[in-house]
């Protein structure tokens, strides 16, 4: 999940932390808190919960790091903690009635809107009009993404987390590669239709 150089650096940071150098832990937070947040966001679909989970992730890591033996890479370990905590949080939210209710079975072949509803995807930032359109699009995309069925959203979000590839995502979600490929496609197609792109 990360290249040799960065995992070496992680190992060094962990060693330093084990030797009592607190700044090393803070470096790990600086380096990876964003990814923990993004993974949690993929599961939970909202920023507040994602931040809460990201914090929990590092509280746990801080506690467990002295015993971390480095059998797996730090990032792999951290991603799993983030995913588990986010799923717990999701289950908890759901048990309290906060679940989303979007059909997973809607057809997504795109055949119903292939003609007429698209507009050209313009280069960003050329004119104030285009800028406004893009800002608006960004807002809409965010809102629609949060409304996606969670399996699609998870896959698409994880695809856009730095340095995660299909194999990493399949590993994290415990799915086959083909399933991931299909979910990412469905998420994209669903969003494209909803935003009439």
């Amino acid at each position: 999940m990360s290249n040799d150089t960065s995992s070496m650096a992680d190992r060094e940071l962990i060693e330093k932390f084990k030797n009592g150098e607190q700044w090393a832990f803070e470096s790990l937070v600086d380096k990876y808190s964003g990814r923990a947040y993004q993974i949690a966001y993929g599961v939970l679909g909202n920023r507040e919960d994602a931040e809460e989970v990201a914090q929990d992730v590092f509280i746990r890591i801080h506690r467990a790091l002295p015993k971390f033996r480095g059998d797996s890479e730090f990032t792999t370990w951290m991603y799993r903690i983030a995913m588990n905590l986010a799923r717990n949080k999701y289950r908890w939210n759901k048990s309290r009635g906060g679940q989303r209710n979007v059909s997973m079975d809607a057809p997504i072949d795109g055949s119903d809107d292939a003609n007429g509803r698209r507009f050209d995807v313009t280069e960003p930032g050329l004119s104030p009009d285009v800028r406004t359109t893009l800002d608006e699009l960004e807002r809409q995309a965010g809102e629609e993404m949060e409304k996606l069925p969670e399996l699609y959203r998870q896959a698409l979000v994880l695809r856009n987390v730095e340095e995660l590839n299909y194999e990493d995502i399949a590993d994290l979600l415990g799915c086959k590669l083909g399933t991931i490929k299909s979910r990412i496609a469905r998420a994209r197609e669903e969003l494209r239709k909803r935003l009439a792109l």
Partner: protein, 263 residues
């Protein structure tokens, strides 16, 4: 997607999406070169990825907030995980203190010198060994930044008031491991019983955990109820089933952490 007359049939959304990620089949990739319609779909997917990434951008001060949260949690964690007793200068004192049977006092006294405490931005939660902290010092699970460290409530022994046959108060925080037949079913039951109260769910060594802050009386009732459901309590600390008569209740909030272990 329409069938452009000059090309093979258009690939499906999955193929186009795979092309965007550099994983399309050679046929699909080739098709995209020639078919404006499919290329436009691929461009839309790329744009969506860009928009998703923008949406995913963490708050700019996330790392700082997390560092503060970790520091607070560490400060609230009375027994450090690190081998603080191996720190220079501590071992001798520890040996002396152990001889005197005053380990608990030592732990409290040394906490500001532990590695975790040096990270703290908030003053460490000092407390005498046998006196409960004020209610205001009990972390509120509903608050993101002062949330209790759900993974590490220590056993209650250090803070438990030592009674002498008299009723004693419950510790301000304690942890129970319950042995249950069906973990998921038991978790649902628990959520049903505790209802709308704030419960933080977590995982500890693969076991589901539930942390809640309840008035002492409610914790006792909960423990009685769970025992009546044939859950088996493995922990000797804190509220014990059907032993409410031995507890001095004051309505004080107690942080109760429950670990579900399957049989």
């Amino acid at each position: 997607m329409t069938h452009a007359p000059l090309h093979d049939p258009c690939p499906d959304a999955e193929q186009i999406s795979a092309c965007v990620d550099g994983r399309g089949s050679p046929e699909a990739r080739e098709h995209l070169l020639d078919c404006p319609q499919c290329r436009q779909t691929a461009e839309a997917y790329r744009l969506l990825d860009t928009l998703v990434r923008k949406r995913l951008a963490p708050p700019h001060d996330l790392a700082q907030r997390i560092r503060n949260g970790v520091a607070r949690a560490a400060a609230q964690r009375p027994v450090p995980q690190q081998a603080w007793f191996l720190l220079p200068g501590v071992r001798l004192a520890a040996a002396v203190a152990l001889t005197l049977g005053a380990l608990t006092v030592l732990i409290v006294a040394l906490r500001p010198n532990t590695p975790e405490a040096t990270l703290a931005v908030a003053p460490p939660l000092e407390r005498p060994a046998t006196v409960h902290p004020p209610v205001s010092a009990i972390p509120d699970p509903a608050n993101t930044m002062t949330r209790v460290d759900v993974g590490n409530l220590r056993p209650a022994r250090e803070t438990q008031v030592v009674g002498s046959g008299l009723a004693r108060a419950l510790p301000a925080e304690f942890r129970h491991v319950w042995n249950v037949e069906d973990v998921d079913g038991s978790a649902r039951l628990l959520q049903g019983i505790v209802g709308e109260r704030d419960v933080i769910e977590g995982v500890e060594q693969g076991n589901r955990t539930f942390t809640m802050v309840l008035p002492d009386r409610d914790v006792q009732q909960l423990v009685d109820r769970l025992a009546a459901e044939r859950w088996e309590l493995l922990s000797p600390e804190g509220a014990q089933p059907r032993k409410g008569a031995n507890v001095a209740f004051s309505g004080r909030k107690v942080t109760y952490r429950l670990v579900l272990a399957g049989r």
